[in-house]
C-alpha cells in the first residue's frame, strides 16, 4: 500500500497535467455566443466608435444607450466619455472625436476637454 499510494498520486498529477493541456491548449472551450462586453479591448473601442456613428446616422439615443449598456450596464456613457477623452488626448481622428462628443453630449456626459468639439457636425 505504501508503494501504491505514491504511484496513484503520480498518476493523478500526470492526469491533471494532461487534462489542463487538453482543456487549455489543445482543445479549449470555444465560446460562440459571446456579448460585446467580452470583446477584446480593440474591438470594444471599435464598438463604441460605431455606436457613436450609428447615433449620428439614426439619432436613436435609446438604441445607443442600450448598446452601450452591454459594455457597462451601470454607466453606459462611461465608455463614450473615456474613449472621447483618450482620442482627444492622443489626437485621434476628428470625425471619431466629434461623433463621440456628439453622443456624450446627448447622454449628458460631456467633460471640459470636449468643449472645443461641442456643437459641430461630425
Amino acid at each position: 500500500m505504501r508503494r501504491v499510494l505514491p504511484l496513484a498520486l503520480a498518476g493523478l498529477a500526470v492526469g491533471i497535467a494532461l487534462g489542463l493541456l487538453v482543456g487549455w491548449v489543445l482543445w479549449p472551450v470555444r465560446y460562440t455566443n459571446t456579448a460585446p462586453a467580452q470583446l477584446r479591448q480593440d474591438y470594444r473601442t471599435e464598438y463604441v466608435l460605431m455606436v457613436a456613428a450609428a447615433y449620428h446616422v439614426e439619432g436613436d439615443l435609446e438604441a445607443a444607450r442600450a448598446r452601450l449598456a452591454l459594455l457597462d450596464p451601470e454607466q453606459p456613457a462611461r465608455p463614450v466619455r473615456e474613449l472621447a477623452e483618450t482620442l482627444i488626448a492622443e489626437g485621434g481622428r476628428e470625425t471619431d472625436i466629434r461623433t463621440l462628443v456628439h453622443l456624450a453630449e446627448a447622454m449628458g456626459a460631456t467633460t471640459p476637454s470636449m468643449l472645443p468639439y461641442l456643437g459641430g457636425t461630425p
Binding site: 498518476g11 479549449p28 456613428a53
Partner: protein, 284 residues
C-alpha cells in the same frame, strides 16, 4: 502482483486526474472569455455589429476601415445583415445621401437587392453630371404620354435624369381615386421586356403635405407597383427617391367620361436608358 497493483494505481490516478483537469480547464477556469472577437458574438449581436459597421461607414466613408471591422465574420452573415439594413432603410425612405454609399458598400461586399439597384445606377447629383453619356441616336426625347384628357399633366423631364415617365393613363375602375405607379428598369437590349423594380421610393407631394410609398409591397399586383390615394382638387407632384425633383407635377384627379367616377391615374416610370425609344399610348 505488486507491479500490476502499481500500474493500476497509476492508471487510475491518471484517469481521475485527467477528468479533474478537464473539469477545471473547461468549466471552472476556461480559456479567456474576455478577449473574444466579433465572429464569436451571439447571432443578434453579430448582426448588430455588421449594421454598426455600415452606419460608421456612412459617417467616415472609410471603406478599408469598414472591411477591417468585418474581417472574420461569415460572409453570409454580412450579406444578410446589410441587405436587411438596406431594405429597411429603403422602406423608411432614407435619403439618397444615405442609401447611395450604403448601397456601394453592400455592393462591394457582394450584396444585391432591388432597393440597391436604383442607387448604384444613379449618379450622385454633382456638377460632373455633364459626363453622363447622354447622346442617343433617337432624334426626339420620349414625350410623355398623351392621354385623352387635354390637360398637360406631365411636365418635361430633365434629359439627364435616369427616370422617365413612359405613360400616364386614366383608369376608371376604382371608386377611390388613386395614383398607381409602376416602376420598371429599361430593357438592356432591344426586344427585351422591362423588368419591374421593387424597393423604389416614391414621393407624392402637394401643397402642405407629402406621402411616401415603396414599390414591391403588393407583389400580387406587380413587383414594381405602389399606389397613393388622391383627393379631388389637390395638385400633386410625383418624385422618385427624393421629393425634391418631381417627375410629374400638377397632377389632379379628373372625372371619368363615363359614369360618376373620379378617375385614378396609372403612371409607368422607367429607369435607365432604353435601347430604343418606346412610348405607350394613353388610354381612357
Amino acid at each position: 502482483m505488486n507491479h500490476r497493483a502499481g500500474f493500476l494505481a497509476f492508471a487510475g490516478g491518471a484517469v481521475l486526474g485527467l477528468v479533474l483537469g478537464l473539469i477545471y480547464a473547461w468549466l471552472i477556469d476556461p480559456v479567456d472569455l474576455y478577449n473574444t472577437t466579433p465572429d464569436l458574438l451571439r447571432s443578434d449581436y453579430r448582426h448588430d455589429w455588421i449594421r454598426l459597421v455600415a452606419m460608421a461607414y456612412l459617417v467616415d466613408g472609410d471603406l478599408e476601415r469598414a472591411e477591417h471591422r468585418l474581417e472574420g465574420l461569415p460572409q453570409e452573415d454580412v450579406q444578410a445583415a446589410l441587405a436587411a439594413l438596406i431594405e429597411s432603410y429603403a422602406v423608411e425612405g432614407r435619403p439618397a445621401e444615405v442609401m447611395r454609399p450604403l448601397s456601394q458598400l453592400a455592393s462591394r461586399l457582394g450584396v444585391r437587392t432591388a432597393a440597391m439597384a436604383i442607387y448604384l445606377n444613379t449618379p450622385p447629383p454633382s456638377p460632373t453630371l455633364e459626363t453622363t453619356p447622354t447622346p442617343q441616336p433617337s432624334p426626339t426625347p420620349p414625350p410623355p404620354t398623351p392621354t385623352a384628357t387635354p390637360t398637360p399633366f406631365i411636365s418635361p423631364l430633365p434629359p439627364l435624369l435616369p427616370y422617365r415617365v413612359i405613360s400616364q393613363t386614366q383608369v376608371c375602375t376604382t371608386t377611390l381615386p388613386q395614383l398607381q405607379v409602376l416602376v420598371r428598369a429599361a430593357p438592356e437590349e432591344e426586344g427585351d421586356e422591362p423588368t419591374p423594380l421593387p424597393g423604389v421610393v416614391l414621393w407624392l407631394t402637394w401643397p402642405g403635405g407629402a406621402d411616401r410609398a415603396v414599390t414591391g409591397l403588393r407583389p400580387e399586383i406587380d413587383p414594381g407597383y405602389a399606389d397613393f390615394t388622391l383627393e379631388p382638387g389637390v395638385p400633386y407632384a410625383l418624385s422618385v427617391d427624393e421629393p425634391a425633383a418631381p417627375l410629374l407635377s400638377d397632377l389632379t384627379v379628373q372625372p371619368c367620361q363615363e359614369g360618376n367616377l373620379m378617375g385614378s391615374w396609372r403612371i409607368v416610370i422607367e429607369i435607365g436608358q432604353p435601347p430604343t425609344t418606346e412610348n405607350e399610348e394613353g388610354e381612357q
